[in-house]
Symmetry: C4
Subunit: 217 residues, 4 copies
């Protein structure tokens, strides 16, 4: 019975991962729908298509940053599933909450595309960075729940990795909170910070890996 | 030959599950397309963007409840596939019918987003809760067909889980019928009930699990 | 080396199947986007929402038939992948051609939704059934290529199944050709035939299975 | 520990592949959304629906070429993952860059559909072929990074395949650069070349395979 249960649990984390992967893959691909093709009839005789395409720059930036951020969330989601070997109901709920926010990302992305150059830049960049703040919180809650007393963690998971992920994730919420606050002062700075954070968190994972692999040797 | 057949059958439930997972993941992600970004030119000078975004509250509520409901259907779909190890044609047909309804969900969700605050609130909440009623019926039909005389169930599946799932699923259709009837009286109550039912069914699974694990011990 | 090659080939059919499954799952889910929510401002004071929703019946029918057809194509695609264990370049190309047509299905579905009740009913039902005709041809080409001299078929595949699938697929193209010709005479008959063919092919698979299982015993 | 690390790495390439597959499958399916159904009210009394559908030919061509190209990218992506057995951070980044471009493809496809017959044909075919040029560069960077000193390659990978893939990928960027330059001279030639390149690269893989299999024998 115990073996059977273990098998079911391993299979369950595999399935949660596969379903989450599907959601990540679709959410990241739907982002392209926010770059709207300018219609022939809307082109002004003066500027023409090139002008119209250049005018879409907020949409390109929003696409780039949202793509990078969802990709980093996916990388992190997978990284922690390397160590998570069991599941419980709170974990399922927290993972569902994370996916809820990830699926939501195309909406603030579309808002940013439409309003970054308007008088509403503060509002849309606040909603944009605020969404990422909530994602960072959700990811931390998910990991904390799993890592507390290693309750959902594989037994032979290396301690160095576990504690380094915990350390690193602690930076997420305050840094995105900073990006949120920046949006009220100067919207472009907030957007730039969201991009830099995606870069930072992609490097952070590599640093942890290197650091812990040196320690193991 | 018998072994070969068994292998094909196990592989087949795995594939039905993988295909269904793909459909669930896409249906849940398409929900975000129902939250339409307000266009610059449609903003009234008075209220502006904030007003317009606040005015989208029916869309946010519809997104939240539909997301939660599809997630719970997915959780339940997987829960029963833990025990189902064979497939037959009626099962394939019933699973197809369930997916047909799941893929349909974004449409009543969009209807609810557009008309919840109009004089048509009764109609759209009836269509919304009615769709969930049909999903509950489809899920019960799928499970009943599989569980009858345990015909598609794994031999070493625990009896407690099987009978508890059966008990629990019996509540689905009458409760969603109640939500449907409420929609004719007071639309918001119907919508609230749909949300509460998603919460209830997410907890119900956990209770079954706890209850049966105690019994096993 | 031979073993290695065999392993790569088995892995390759698995991957072709997984990618095709993803495409099927997305194409079937995108169908719902063809049922457009009627906008508040387009409602006539007389009829209102109920009238507008009832007026969408061509979209519901198109959704139902396209969903059923893609589901049956998926079932058949999987059925033949049960027996196909190798891949070659022509097979990859033919599978790509099948997916090309499957991804195309939402377009004739949308055409049917918009024009079934117009004077263009003949044209759109011809395009609709013509698309399915091409799918039937593509599926038959894919199977024929694989089954000829059993070149891509598993060695221990039962002969009865192989020859029965071949027999059955031969009916696909002429029957859909009939549906196409009907569309020029009476559009509703063509559409009804497309639906009946989906039902027929879902039953046909079951009959083959029963027939061959009796023979084995 | 070493074994554990190896296992994690193998699992990681498997997951990168599965996620990438999801993105490819969705991007290829979203292409159909660029073929817009002509609306009843936009039909001119003279030409009618047939005229309107024939007028969509740039959209059909764009759909065909983009579908073929994404399919070929997928085939190549999988081909190289047959040999890649490890992952590192630069590899993850380069794969993310490739996916970024693949997800972008529906946008230049939509541009081509809308503007191929306008005075902007040069611009949109330049953007279209330019996107494919970047994809070819990204695919080559990904492969080069993996194949350099065989750092991410399976040990028992055949040398002939590895060196032939390297040779072949070298042709990608200059050939697509030629297509890009053609777009400034005569747009249709650029588009035709994009199609021919998709055909060429699908055949190139087959030739490598045949050539190396002869050598092995």
């Amino acid at each position: 019975m115990a073996n059977d249960k273990l098998f079911l649990e391993e299979k369950e984390t595999g399935r949660i991962e596969a379903f989450s992967d599907g959601v990540f893959a679709i959410a990241i691909t739907l982002l392209i729908l926010d770059i709207k093709v300018p219609h022939m009839r809307d082109l002004t005789s003066a500027g023409g298509l090139v002008q119209a395409l250049l005018g879409l720059w907020p949409a390109y930036i929003a696409y780039l940053i949202s793509f990078a951020t969802i990709l980093i969330i996916w990388v992190n989601h997978h990284r922690i599933f390397n160590y998570i070997k069991r599941s419980d109901d709170a974990f399922l709920f927290l993972n569902g909450f994370l996916l809820f926010l990830v699926v939501f990302i195309p909406f603030p992305t579309a808002l940013l595309s439409e309003y970054l150059t308007s008088q509403y830049a503060h509002i849309v960049s606040a909603i944009y960075s605020g969404t990422f703040l909530m994602v960072a919180v959700a990811l931390q809650l998910l990991w904390r729940h799993a890592a507390k007393d290693k309750r959902l963690i594989s037994r032979n998971a290396d301690h160095c990795f576990i504690s380094n992920i915990s350390k690193q994730y602690r930076y997420g919420p305050p840094l995105y909170l900073l990006a949120l606050m920046l949006s009220f002062i100067w919207a472009p700075a907030s957007i730039a910070m969201c991009f830099l954070l995606a870069v930072f968190f992609s490097i952070a994972g590599a640093i942890t890996k290197m650091y812990c692999e040196i320690e193991i040797k």
